[in-house]
Amino acid sequence: MTHEIDRRHFLKMSSTVLAAAPAVLATGPAALAAGAAQPASDKQGAPFVSTHRMLDLPKARGPRLVIIGGGTSGLTIAKYAKKAYPKFDVVLVEKRCMYSSCFASNLWYPGIIDLEFLADHSFLDAAHNSDYIYVNATCIGLDRASRTVATNEGDIKYDFLVIAPGISYDYDKIGVHDIDTKVALRQTYPGGFICPTEHVTIHRKVRQFEGGVFIQTVPSGNYRCLPAPYERACLIASVIKHNKLKGKVVVLDANPEITIKAPGFHAAFDELYKGIIEWHPTSAVTGVDVAQRTVHTEFDSYKFDDAAIYPNIRAATLIEELGLMAPPTKSNQKEANIDIRFYNLIGDEHVYVTGDSRPMPYSKSGNTSNSEGHYVAKVLAARAQGKDITWTSPQTLCYSMVDAFPKQAIWVDTYYGYDATKDAITGFKDTKVDNTRSEANGATYLEWAHGLYRDMFKA
């Protein structure tokens, strides 16, 4: 049954997401210490990395809007900025030459969808359908004084620049400091929340799991896609159950409670996966012994046969490399130093950072970035025409599949508030949630993903 979210759940959800917000820096001293080790100003004023040649592009036919990053945020902004202000000459720079979505990727592991569902979407078609240029290149430098962004294929002059590079993993926050272990974890036990090739590896792990212990970790902070590690635990457990394997999923959760849709996940754990899912709250990972296949937490150690180690996250390292990082008092995940309503870098209305590199305490999810992208497109159109625009909240509509046989899902739908007196995002607003799993929700989940693909890739 669906119901308006009650106060208790609201607070629980809010505290989780807002834990990453600067106003409630629960991990203040630790974050500051981390910041001190790598000061935000490290890269400020770093020499401009340039190829010293211009990228081969047609002459701009209007204000040139360059977008770095072809994920949910960049693709949405490229299309809708052009719609909002057709004079924009839009160039989308993306380092991948093959798209595959991170959202909905968990559904591939138990075979609810195939890889085509995630990946049969062309950057070329998106650019053609919405009249912009797609460039397969990697951003390597930025010179804001001359409004030039550098890529490995050449430099590009911009009138407006949007940087939407997503996230990077932060293994130091789970106690993994030595480079050998970091590399081993990245390659052998990936989190599965950045690169499509991680999804392929996890898919292989799930398909080939013949029993034993599979560890799924849940980090602290405002990590990408709050329900996803729990959803993945459920889907791996549903495969174990379906295939009648002698195995279990051990969920090592850094948080004291399931971070979102807790009643729906608890119901799934208790009613569908008793004896298959073992959930350990307040069990932050403090280190991993890859050779011994052992995860350490503060009080215990857990042996595993296979695992997906989801470490803490931070803004993509590009944000730090370009010298755009907010001070630790504003972001403890190395996110960008932007205006929280209009997304421009503080003091520079020509450069914007969007998507999961933003410092706002929004859920880092596909729907958030898509709805945010619609709004940022309007911000850019307004700025290009010297107009003002009213802030509107992104929408976080998030489905979680808790069973694969049959496919059953739960969902939450929420917006955010803005407090002008504090210039702060205040938490969830107009929240609706359905914690009762159903096949109808499962079908809608797939249509939800199709909708996002259509919105980004079709005209």
């Binding site: 359908n129 359905d434 096949e439 809608t444 249509e447």
Partner: protein, 234 residues
């Protein structure tokens, strides 16, 4: 359609067209299409008296690949409403048809991210008795991303991320037979975008080009719960 009905339909359309001449914006946006009489699955004419209030009926119009909802508002009246489509321009939604002027039709494609009813599944429905997405009964809800529309005011957006109203289809009522005839709609530019977005699926279902063909003289209207094997419940 026999000659007599055809003449009657044309007359109705002509009268309606004459009325619109006083409203240039409306005349520009509401396009006439060849009339199609709504029929039941067995081919018998659908009667206004038989249109249920509990759920929408689905019929294709003006092209085979465009699904529309036929909705009986029951005790509520349909209010012609001035609306705008970013692609197809300004228009005023038609008044209700039928003996009680409470039958309305609209294109059943969500204006947000184009969810629509297929034989397998529909995320969009007329929630006659209410929905978890909204307290009020009698609204159209799209579960995909939570858009809500009011069929009594031209399917104007009520809540959620949709940028504008569901597009209207115009119905004429034949008092003598109690029959219903679709006579026009708004959305030619939108339809082109919809066909482009779903071209592979539509070719699979209707054959190459089939989805773009006019529906012909009749259009089968059946309840959504029979049209789609599964319907979202949000």
């Amino acid at each position: 359609m026999d000659r007599r009905s055809f003449v009657k339909t044309c007359a109705g359309t002509a009268i309606a067209a004459a009325c619109w001449r006083g409203h240039p914006a409306l005349a520009a946006a509401m396009a006439d299409h060849p009339p199609a009489r709504l029929v039941n699955a067995d081919g018998s004419p659908l009667k206004a008296a038989d249109v249920t209030t509990t759920e929408a009926l689905v019929f294709a119009y003006p092209y085979r690949g465009i699904p529309c909802f036929l909705i009986n508002l029951g005790g509520r009246a349909a209010h012609p409403t001035a609306l705008a489509s970013p692609e197809d321009g300004d228009y005023t939604s038609p008044a209700g048809a039928g003996p009680h002027a409470n039958l309305v039709a609209c294109v059943a494609i969500c204006m947000h991210q184009l969810s629509y009813p297929t034989p397998d599944y529909s995320a969009i429905r007329y929630a006659a008795s209410g929905s978890p997405l909204t307290d009020a009964p009698g609204l159209i809800v799209c579960c995909t991303h939570g858009s809500v529309y009011d069929p009594a005011t031209g399917a104007a957006r009520v809540a959620g991320p949709a940028p504008n109203a569901l597009l209207p289809a115009r119905l004429a009522w034949d008092a003598e037979s109690d029959g219903l005839i679709a006579t026009g709609c708004v959305g030619d530019k939108f339809f082109a975008r919809f066909f482009d977005a779903y071209k592979s699926d539509l070719i699979d279902r209707f054959g190459p080009g089939g989805y773009r063909q006019p529906v012909g003289e009749t259009a089968v209207a059946i309840p959504l719960s029979r049209y789609s094997a599964a319907v979202s419940t949000c």
